[in-house]
Symmetry: C2
Subunit: 375 residues, 2 copies
């Protein structure tokens, strides 16, 4: 399956580069073949990606057949300091030196974990991201964020560290279920809302079951992320655009993790966060009511309901205090000023956040029933 000889055309965007299109993996093969013979390659994956994606990766990238494979458990619990310790020790035992290259094959957990381990092993070795989920392709594997969770706080420990490159191979998405796909779609919706009205419209109407139709939208989303990051690698300003939906979203994700009901995927939490942030955009006079309604309607139709009680809102606010984007307990939101444009660092009070959460609860289909039964 490997493509030999010169590979053209290769679609490339951003710095560090994101390679996409049908020949992306053939380009990875060329790049690895050009490495010095002394560079040892390691592939990091989880149970799922090692079973479902590794054979296809090796078929397209024969240079990786000699790589050492490292497998961790699937799921967020692998973004853990003990897993890092095991990976650092494993690399040392395999005599990985500073010429070693780590290829991260997986979703956001693998690219976050692998990026952090590579960025800190011997003060930094090279790494390459090959995302296998939609969330990975349009968000997690682009932008040089690498982090693990600690003490229940997501991404508490991490670094800004750029991969050598990210390679998008959309056929990996064939094996993805609908919930996983929607998980990534949330970030695509976000990219449209904060930056590109046309993209929002295309994503809104896209047939999610048709990978061929989706592929160019995925690549456009990856390009938006890559552009914004290149403008602001250290998240000092413009990159905060990408926080849209994430301030409340992160807190809901952490809240769901400690509560007894089913956990929220990141994109599901961000979708609720975007509903709340869109309402706050209207509430603060930045966005008109029609546009708010259009965003709300689309997101509420696409994502499952997440129920919580009025009494939970205090805890959700508390979890927001730990969010790394907030300075000294102030809440600062990225809010929409239209479809395709947003403003960062809008000050929002705790009372307004509570109102936004209440608003979301009232949108849920069983809102009346639920409020009644509590009475």
């Amino acid at each position: 399956m490997a493509t030999h000889g010169k590979v053209t055309p290769i679609m490339q965007t951003g710095h560090p580069p994101v390679f996409m299109g049908a020949h992306a993996l053939a380009h990875l093969e060329q790049r690895l073949a050009a490495l010095p013979a002394t560079s040892t390659c390691f592939i990091l994956g989880d149970e799922t990606t090692m079973a479902q994606c590794l054979p296809e990766l090796l078929a397209h990238v024969p240079a990786l057949q000699a790589a050492h494979n490292i497998q961790v458990r699937s799921g967020e619990q692998s973004k853990d300091i003990e897993v890092c310790r095991a990976l650092w020790m494993h690399l040392a035992e395999q005599h990985a030196d500073r010429q070693a290259v780590l290829v991260n094959l997986g979703g956001g957990v693998i690219t976050d974990l692998g990026g952090f381990v590579a960025a800190t092993y011997k003060r930094g070795i090279r790494f390459i991201h090959v995302p296998t989920t939609l969330m990975g392709m349009v968000d997690a594997a682009i932008g040089g964020k690498a982090a693990i969770d600690l003490g229940g706080v997501k991404n508490l420990v991490g670094a800004f560290a750029d991969p050598d490159a990210t390679y998008l191979h959309t056929p990996f998405l064939r094996t993805l279920g609908k919930r996983e796909l929607l998980n990534g779609v949330a970030e695509m919706v976000k990219h449209g809302l904060v930056r590109d009205a046309n993209h929002w419209n295309e994503v809104r109407r896209a047939p999610l079951h048709n990978l061929e139709a989706l592929a160019p939208l995925i690549e456009r989303s990856a390009a938006i992320k890559s552009e914004v990051v290149a403008e602001d690698p250290r998240e000092q300003g413009p990159r905060k655009l990408l926080n849209f939906g994430h301030t409340i979203g992160h807190a809901l994700e952490a809240f769901a993790m400690e509560s007894t009901q089913r956990s929220l995927l990141h994109g599901e939490a961000v979708a609720i966060g975007m509903v709340c942030a869109t309402w706050l955009s209207w509430r603060t006079g930045l966005l008109d009511r029609d546009r708010m309604n259009a965003v709300e309607e689309h997101l509420m139709g696409l994502y499952p309901s997440f129920s919580f009680q009025a009494t939970d809102e205090h805890r959700i606010l508390e979890l927001m205090r730990n969010d790394k984007k907030n300075s000294s307990g102030e809440y600062r939101f990225t809010l929409l000023t239209g479809i395709g444009s947003a403003e960062v660092d809008v000050p929002i009070t705790a009372a307004q956040v509570t109102e936004a959460l209440e608003h979301y609860r009232l949108l849920l289909p069983d809102a009346h029933l639920r409020l009644h039964s509590q009475a």
Copy 2:
């Protein structure tokens, strides 16, 4: 004791800047006073520096009187992943956000540990180094290396992360014992040997008991380190100059840690490493015999003997394989081409390393006795 008003002159070198001279801490006071009110300050120190240096720091820098103090145990064992975990959690519990500033008050252990924790907490907060040992002032606190040990390997996990600035306050050295002072002198000797013949001559003749006479030499040494680092922050080329004595030195340090005899301080190990590397410089034809003898004589007179057996040499070579500076098991040394000049990446075989270690053993005062008793 605080100096108010405009502070001049301030001696500054390099990027990130190293501030030195009598007014260095007054300048730190000015810088901290200019921080936004939302920035929380933390001071990290160990048992020794919190008792012996913190009162003097607070007297010169009243802005730090409101800082949170964090104390870890003295010694290399604090460069540990469990200590990092406790520090990250502590910062999170104190609601440290990305505006927080960590002031690292101590020797190389504290600046390495604090630098790494700050560089990775919420993907990086600002930090400032205030070294309290000679080793810290002329080496560890300059250059953006931040790391911890893992599995017995020194600095296995870490990052390149620049402090906002480093502040040298030589009066802290008053409390230092002779062994600690000699520990730092080894790096000063190195700076002279690889870069500045005049500095080598001055350091060689310096009265170690006279802090006032030593201060300008300390500042010159810090400036050399700072210059070399600025030329090559990521250690791709010129910075390897500073590895002189360290390839064998690091292995000896690790070897001493696992053996039963007293451990070697970093500078003591580097001094032996410099004796070996100077001999290798002669052996490979880069340095003449007279200069080799002058360097050997000075170092052997200044530092205590460290005995090991011929049978230990295999283990020392093995430890060198883990050194991050070596590519795929090859040994590459920084060797002298004269007094004040050096060449990096000189290939050296395992057999030559063994010869160099043998040479050191033969220089020891009891070499004959020891060899005899083994026979």
